[in-house]
């Protein structure tokens, strides 16, 4: 498994744009097409906005990951914010905190391939999500 990490600290709204840009660049270099680049960037946007809106501060980091037959981009979003009490509910469609349709964490899961989340109340949330090149 090859590894190369880059990351963006999220503090202000402008940082969301920086995270998007870094993620899109990496996705492009890996060889994702335009539509997938746009999807990956939208997922990053959602993760970074969640940090910005609900945790106040956090970090988005990127890894190029390699499996036996393909490679992909892994995105990790970490914060030490309030955490999520009911994960099942947050992962359910129509409960998105950002209120919009198709947004929120279910949206991220749809845009990407793999998705994992660990959250503890008052301790923070870590999300790792991967999209593989097909």
């Amino acid at each position: 498994m090859m590894n190369s990490q880059s990351c963006v600290t999220i503090l202000k709204e402008w940082d969301i744009v920086a995270a998007r840009q870094m993620g899109r660049e990496i996705a492009k270099n890996i060889g994702f097409g335009t539509v997938d680049q746009a999807r990956i960037t939208t997922a990053i946007s959602e993760l970074a906005r969640n940090i910005y809106l609900y945790a106040g501060e956090g970090k988005i980091s990127f890894n190029i990951v390699q499996s036996l037959d393909t490679k992909g981009i892994s995105i990790k979003a970490e914060d030490k914010g309030p955490g999520i009490k009911d994960l099942s509910q947050v992962m359910e469609d129509g409960f998105s905190t950002s209120g919009g349709l198709g947004a929120g964490l279910p949206g991220v899961r749809r845009l990407m391939d793999d998705f994992d989340i660990i959250s503890e109340v008052n301790k923070g949330t870590t999300i790792v999500t991967v999209k593989w090149l097909r």
Binding site: T34, V35, A38, R39, T42, G94, L101, G102, G107
Partner: protein
């Protein structure tokens, strides 16, 4: 050549044709393509991407203008694609719930089914259609050993699944009463106590309970806040309300009811219903009870079962084929 490539070629060819001729046939083609794409779960952003590829092929010299301007649209479409997928997921879940409710509704129907009693004296017709799959209206006929025919019609305030759960309970309770020896007011008083004890306090039930005694030719009845029925006098050729005072079931365990009676002559008609019939809405305006009578009049010459079927079809259409409440209508004609 995979299907995606075929799609791209078709689309480009059709777009080219339209740009040249601007005729309707190409647009009809566009519609058919997009419908088939939706069936194949192709998301709107992929559709836009296809359009971009086609444009670049048709206008290679405009590459520098098309690419950024259309890429912007593609980015914006990602959110529409997400909404599309979220909706699709909901649709699948809905289908699952629907089939679940279908099984529950079948169980309920089996549990609550009531045969129309066989009698030469009365011609009885009944239709009961739930607004959703489960029925919160209830009706039941029993023919006693002495020939007495008892008729129950009830409506749970609220509809759907919770209403249906309460109805099953009512049915268990009613079945446990001794046969026909109670007067109609004491039946309502007893069932009221059962409801008060067992049903969620936020739920109420209205009920009309009647007994037709062939020996006296009279209909005895009591009502627990239920929508009044209609009595048609064949001699006077007039309709009047069948009213009876009484509190809805489940509010006060000590509620008492009164028994009223009607003398039925040959050709007289009793119509019992739930508020799903009288509170039909047309363009969000409730119709009134005289309008219900007008519709019933149109079909009253028919056998009871045909008549209630026609009345139902009339109101189904009036409501644009979307019932807002469970609809139950009983017609009883005295034949001899």
């Amino acid at each position: 050549m995979d299907t995606r490539e075929i799609d791209t070629r078709n689309y480009t060819a059709l777009l080219k044709k339209y740009i040249e001729t601007q005729d309707e046939q190409a647009l009809y083609g566009a519609e058919q393509i997009s419908k088939s794409f939706i069936k194949k779960n192709i998301l709107p952003e992929e559709f836009v991407n296809l359009h971009i590829q086609a444009l670049l092929e048709i206008y290679p010299d405009l590459h520098d203008k098309i690419k950024p301007s259309m890429h912007f649209l593609l980015e914006a479409m990602i959110s529409y694609g997400l909404a599309h997928q979220e909706f699709q997921n909901l649709r699948e879940k809905q289908l699952a719930i629907k089939s679940e409710i279908l099984v529950a509704a079948r169980m309920q129907k089996m549990l609550l089914q009531s045969k129309i009693p066989e009698t030469d004296e009365l011609d009885i017709g009944v239709i009961s259609v739930p607004a959703n799959q489960m029925n919160g209206d209830y009706h039941h006929f029993v023919k006693g050993k002495d020939g007495t025919i008892s008729i129950t019609i009830a409506d749970v305030i609220g509809k759907g699944i919770p209403a249906a759960l309460s109805m099953s309970m009512i049915k268990y309770a009613m079945d446990s009463f001794p046969e026909n020896i109670m007067t109609t007011d004491t039946v309502l008083a007893s069932i009221n106590r059962v409801v008060e004890r067992n049903v969620d306090p936020s739920m109420f039930i209205t009920m009309f309970y009647a007994q037709y005694k062939p020996d006296t030719g009279k209909l005895y009845y009591s009502s627990a806040g239920h929508e009044p029925g209609f009595y048609y006098s064949s001699r006077l050729q007039k309709f009047k309300d069948i009213e009876s005072k009484g509190l809805v079931l489940g509010v006060n365990p000590d509620a008492s009811y009164v028994q009223d009676e009607l003398n039925l002559e040959k050709g007289d008609i009793i119509i019992l219903l739930t508020d799903g019939v009288t509170e039909c809405r047309r363009d969000n305006q409730f119709i009134d009870r005289t309008e219900v009578i007008d519709v019933i009049k149109k079909y009253i010459h028919l056998p009871s079962q045909e008549a209630v079927n026609h009345v139902y079809r009339h109101f189904e259409r009036l409501q644009n084929f979307q019932l807002r409440d469970d609809f139950t209508l009983i017609m009883i004609k005295k034949q001899v």
